[in-house]
């Protein structure tokens, strides 16, 4: 998994490529923890995300909870397979998915 990060005056866009699972999620979690400060809009571009496991969902949930306090969070370009996982787990009700 690779993370591309782009910060434009408070709008942080993270493009995630590959699999977000038990072994790669901690990397995303660290990346997020290091860059929350001053972020008012957090965008996950999931176009290149192939797979998300429950560990990855946990990181997204954490991010959502953090962003609830300081701004908004969006997920964009999620593939069908990923969307299905969001639906099954009920994350579609919690996250803003465009």
């Amino acid at each position: 998994m690779t993370i591309e990060s782009k910060n434009e005056s408070g709008k942080l866009t993270l493009t995630i490529t590959g699999r977000l699972d038990t072994s790669t999620s901690p990397k995303l979690e660290e990346e997020l923890k290091a860059s929350y400060e001053g972020v008012t809009e957090l965008v996950f571009d999931l176009q290149k995300l192939e797979y998300i496991s429950s560990a990855g969902l946990r990181v997204l949930l954490s991010a959502q909870k953090t962003m609830n306090k300081q701004g908004i969070m969006k997920l964009i370009n999620a593939r069908e397979e990923i969307m299905e996982i969001f639906e099954i787990t009920g994350f579609t009700d919690i996250l803003t998915i465009e």
């Binding site: 192939e50 560990a55 009920g90 919690i94």
Partner: protein
């Protein structure tokens, strides 16, 4: 664990060539070269100095003889035939000079002037202390060699006033001598004969031999002294400490612990060897510390590994694993299995009778894996079972569990839960889903099909959530298959997912079988698909067959 000490006898390696021998060899060669140079220089100096002395004496004698000699009468002497009174007087006077000056010979010659190849003796005297015989008047002889010829010529032609011939070839020859030559000139300054004074140089040879002998003795004594001195010095300053260091290094490599006395205390030296000893001390300390650390870390790892193994066992023992679980209940058959991807996983299933008529089924998946997931799983399992046994409905159970878990969930962990309660007498299944995979249902004479139930959010994710509840009527022969995402998301080496389609196909292939057979069929289908690829996620399945009364 204590290692056996000194089991193998320590090999004492002897150096092929001792460092002492090497260093002494160097010094001996140096001494020999030095003494040869000194000998040659001294030898030459002696020779030069003695030759100067000898030649000075010879020329003084020659000049005295020439002065006493009446040059004007040379032709008379030549004509005298060695018999006239004048000749005899001159010869006697010359003989006296020869004896008093210590010369070997004093003689007067006339070479033949065409090519100087022959000489004619006019006078010839011999020191009385020698046993040579003298040449009679008029004796003619071949000139000894080219050198003499050349010198005779120079004296006759007037290009030189005195000549010296040194014959000490080989230097140690028995009769080295010098011959000093001066011309005898008439009143016109023309050379008419040559007066020669010959001196033996026995003394020179003797002095030189003594000198070389002394140098030899001094050198040998010096060599012995240097060798002894060098051995003692090297032994004290170099070899003994190096030997101690070598022994210590060898000891350490076998025993791997610190010595009783530090090397730098044993080797007290302010040179490089002392520094080396100190360095070895420090190195040993560091290695020992490193080994200690490593041992601790390894022990710690072993402990963790053991505890993880225990955790896995405890976790497994938490799940009902005796089948059939309710041998006296004929209304239903149930089978379940869990294969964690890591030592301890986050998946769990559960089933238990709430009362005689109600069977509670739980299939759940905790976010993440490993020990944190396992701990969270245990808590979730107990909380869910507790609320279920209080007689709550599935949606109430999930709501209450979510509230409990959220109140103390610092790590944002969550668990997806499918929970159903089967009313055994009627076959009515009431269920609620908190973000878990869809259940799969098969009714008699039908196929296994995904049942797209109403989903709520995962448990532990957010406070104050409510869950919707639904019912399914199970008929005798109906089967319910529950699973975690490890099944549809099992991945092969080409990164393909097993998927729900393949899962349904596997289920329908053996749909007639018992719950245990059905799980086996799915499992082998997953294994055939994944082949050798690593198992990423826990693989947990449960199957219920409702048989009715």
């Amino acid at each position: 664990m204590k290692e056996k000490k000194n089991t193998a006898k320590r090999e004492k390696k002897k150096p092929k060539v001792s460092i002492i021998f090497k260093s002494i060899l160097g010094i001996v060669i140096l001494l020999i070269v030095f003494s040869v140079i000194v000998s040659i220089m001294g030898f030459n100096n002696f020779t030069d100095a003695l030759l100067d002395q000898y030649s000075d004496g010879a020329f003084r004698t020659a000049n005295t003889a020439v002065m006493e000699f009446d040059a004007g009468k040379i032709d008379d002497y030549a004509a005298s035939g060695g018999k006239t009174k004048e000749y005899v007087t001159a010869l006697e006077s010359m003989e006296r000079l020869c004896n008093s000056s210590g010369s070997t010979f004093i003689y007067v010659i006339r070479p033949d002037l065409t090519d100087y190849r022959h000489i004619t003796f006019l006078f010839s005297t011999i020191n009385k202390n020698t046993d040579y015989t003298r040449y009679e008047f008029g004796f003619v002889r071949d000139t000894t060699n080219e050198e003499y010829m050349e010198k005779y010529r120079k004296l006759y032609e007037g290009t030189s006033e005195q000549e010296l011939v040194i014959r000490d070839k080989g230097y140690i020859e028995t009769d080295p001598h010098i011959t000093a030559m001066v011309p005898i000139k008439d009143n016109d300054g023309k050379t008419t004969a040559i007066l020669c004074v010959q001196r033996q140089m026995d003394n020179l040879v003797h002095v030189r031999n003594t000198y070389i002998g002394k140098i030899l003795i001094v050198m040998i004594v010096l060599m012995i002294l240097v060798i002894i001195g060098q051995i003692v010095y090297l032994h004290r300053v170099f070899l003994r400490p190096v030997k101690k260091i070598t022994e210590e290094a060898s000891r350490f490599s076998h025993e791997n612990d610190l010595p009783e006395n530090k090397l730098s205390e044993k080797v007290k030296s302010n040179d490089e060897i002392g520094i080396l000893a100190g360095s070895i001390d420090r190195m040993e300390e560091r290695i020992v510390k490193y080994i200690d650390d490593l041992t601790k870390v390894t022990a710690e790892k072993e402990r963790i590994s053991t505890e993880l193994g225990l955790a896995t066992k405890i976790q497994a023992s938490m799940l009902p694993s005796v089948f059939p679980p309710f041998p006296d209940r004929t209304e239903f058959d149930i089978y379940a299995s869990m294969d964690p991807a890591k030592e301890v996983g986050g998946d769990f299933y559960d089933f238990f009778l709430v009362d005689d008529d109600h069977l509670c089924l739980v299939m759940a998946d905790v976010s993440g894996k490993g020990v944190p997931a396992a701990l969270f799983m245990m808590a979730s399992k107990i909380i869910l079972a507790n609320y279920a046994k209080m007689g709550k409905t599935p949606s109430e159970i999930l709501r209450a569990a979510n509230a409990t878990i959220c109140s103390s969930n610092q790590e944002d962990m969550f668990v997806t839960v499918w929970l159903g309660i089967l009313e055994i007498t009627t076959g009515r299944l009431t269920a609620a889903n908190a973000g878990h995979e869809y259940p799969v249902i098969m009714h008699p004479d039908g196929n296994f099909e995904i049942y797209k139930d109403k989903h709520g959010f995962v448990i532990g994710g957010m406070e104050g959530l409510k869950y919707k509840e639904y019912t399914i009527d199970m008929k005798p022969g109906s089967k319910l298959f529950l699973y975690t995402d490890g099944v549809p998301e099992a991945t092969n080496a080409e990164k393909e997912l097993f998927g729900t389609e393949r899962m349904l196909a596997a289920l329908n292939k053996g749909s007639d079988g018992s719950p245990q057979d059905i799980l086996k069929t799915v499992r082998s289908s997953v294994d055939a698909f994944v082949k050798d690829a690593e198992q990423f996620d826990d693989l947990t399945m449960m199957c219920l067959e409702y048989k009715g009364r």
